[in-house]
Symmetry: C2
Subunit: 254 residues, 2 copies
């Protein structure tokens, strides 16, 4: 039985803890959080620690805290036996930690506590300072149904940037679209079938081939009218810049 400790009580820690409780071959032996209150949504049967010096012996320590706190946690637990990984897309351990058994276990997904999440089919990018630890991390990923992908810091940092475009920025565009509807007294749910189809199309068309709309067609009249309809200067600039980026993308092909 592989013994795992999770350090953190945020969304990633929450969903990993849920997944490990159901996983075969893995025992979640402890959770660490600064206060016991931070675990109110977590399974009550898992032992909790509120100071890092109390951490139990384990095969794997998963540091699932904010990027700026990872190195600090690591410094306090680096003397422990067991592999120590973080779950961040953009953080890289300082190079002087290479002597330790460190690694990365980065699930490429967006997490909210309010939404049930199944790791089945979700890529987890794995890295290890000592290559012999890679197979171990792949086993852990598979134990929760995820798809392990061997990665490097450079590739992971790039994937994290891609994820910001595909998730954070896309979500902001959904917000702007909903906001336009709301300002004109329309229910933003009207847009959902369109949003669903936008994503479903990716199954058969690359996003490059799926591109449509006034910017793709070079329809200046509609673009000018759209910019005028936008109430805020930032959103007008955003419209113009994304439209410009679309035009540049297809111009190169001509």
């Amino acid at each position: 039985m592989i013994q795992v400790v999770i350090v953190g009580s945020g969304n990633v820690a929450f969903h990993l803890h849920r997944a490990f409780l159901k996983a075969h071959g893995v025992a979640l032996v402890q959770l660490y959080g600064r206060t016991s209150a931070s675990f109110s949504d977590f399974d009550q049967s898992v032992p909790k620690a509120c100071t890092l010096s109390e951490l139990a012996q384990a095969d794997l320590y998963i540091i699932a805290v904010s990027d700026d706190a990872i190195q600090g946690v690591f410094e306090q637990i680096r003397s422990l036996k067991g592999l120590i990984v973080h779950t961040s897309g953009s953080f890289n351990f300082e190079s002087k930690t290479d002597g330790n058994r460190t690694g990365v276990f980065y699930p490429l997904q967006t997490f909210s506590k309010t939404r049930e999440l199944n790791f089945a089919g979700i890529p987890i990018l794995v890295e290890a300072a000592h290559p012999e630890d890679l197979g171990f991390l792949r086993t852990i990923a598979k134990s929760i149904g995820a798809l392990p992908e061997n990665s490097t810091a450079d590739a992971r940092n790039a994937v994290h940037l891609a994820a910001v475009f595909a998730n954070n920025f896309t979500n902001h565009l959904f917000f702007l679209a909903s906001d336009i509807c709301a300002k004109h007294g329309l229910n933003s749910k009207l847009l959902y079938p369109l949003i669903q189809e936008t994503v479903a199309k990716l199954e058969i068309l690359s996003p490059k081939d799926a591109q449509t709309g006034p910017a793709r067609r070079g329809d200046r009249t509609t673009q000018i009218r759209h910019v005028e309809l936008l109430a805020s200067g930032i959103h007008q600039e955003l419209y113009k810049l994304i439209a410009h980026s679309i035009q540049k993308t297809y111009e190169k092909e001509l």
Copy 2:
């Protein structure tokens, strides 16, 4: 039996023709396109016309051509009996056409010929210069399983702008995300579970509440590193502007 003629041979015309062939109570009596070759993917049993003067008598003429061609087509067929509608989100008939029975039948969806499309649950915004034609347009929308929504030109133009954000611009972000993956030797399919979850989240969280990421958290270190990772000046500007727009959105709340 309601008799319908579709003017146009593009994606919207194609999917409406397929839907009407299966609809109850509606007969698709003719398709118009400038050349017979434009109908190679269309049902061969529907009569075709290549000049507007050949148009058959019908209850409804649906002009599904590019925005800049709609008014021209209308001028050539306005003497016909029957209601004449267009399918555009942004085009508005010139006001002098109000004497005619005109209207709008705007399906809020993205269309590609290569992808099967079911109108079930898809909103169709309907407008009519003569209010007594609205019920007729709602019946037509329902005949193909769509959800008719009474609209106005202003509301429709706003929805079209929202659709540009929710579909065209979002798709461009998917392209940029795929492109980042490709440039780092990664399969962009890794991003699909994340993209699917981004959309699935909208069922339980508003996009405003679902927002996460470095811009939302005000994580400057990650944002600076991301901008450095981007190869093109336009994409760097795009990153900075969307991140700025996210920050502004949540700043107002404080």
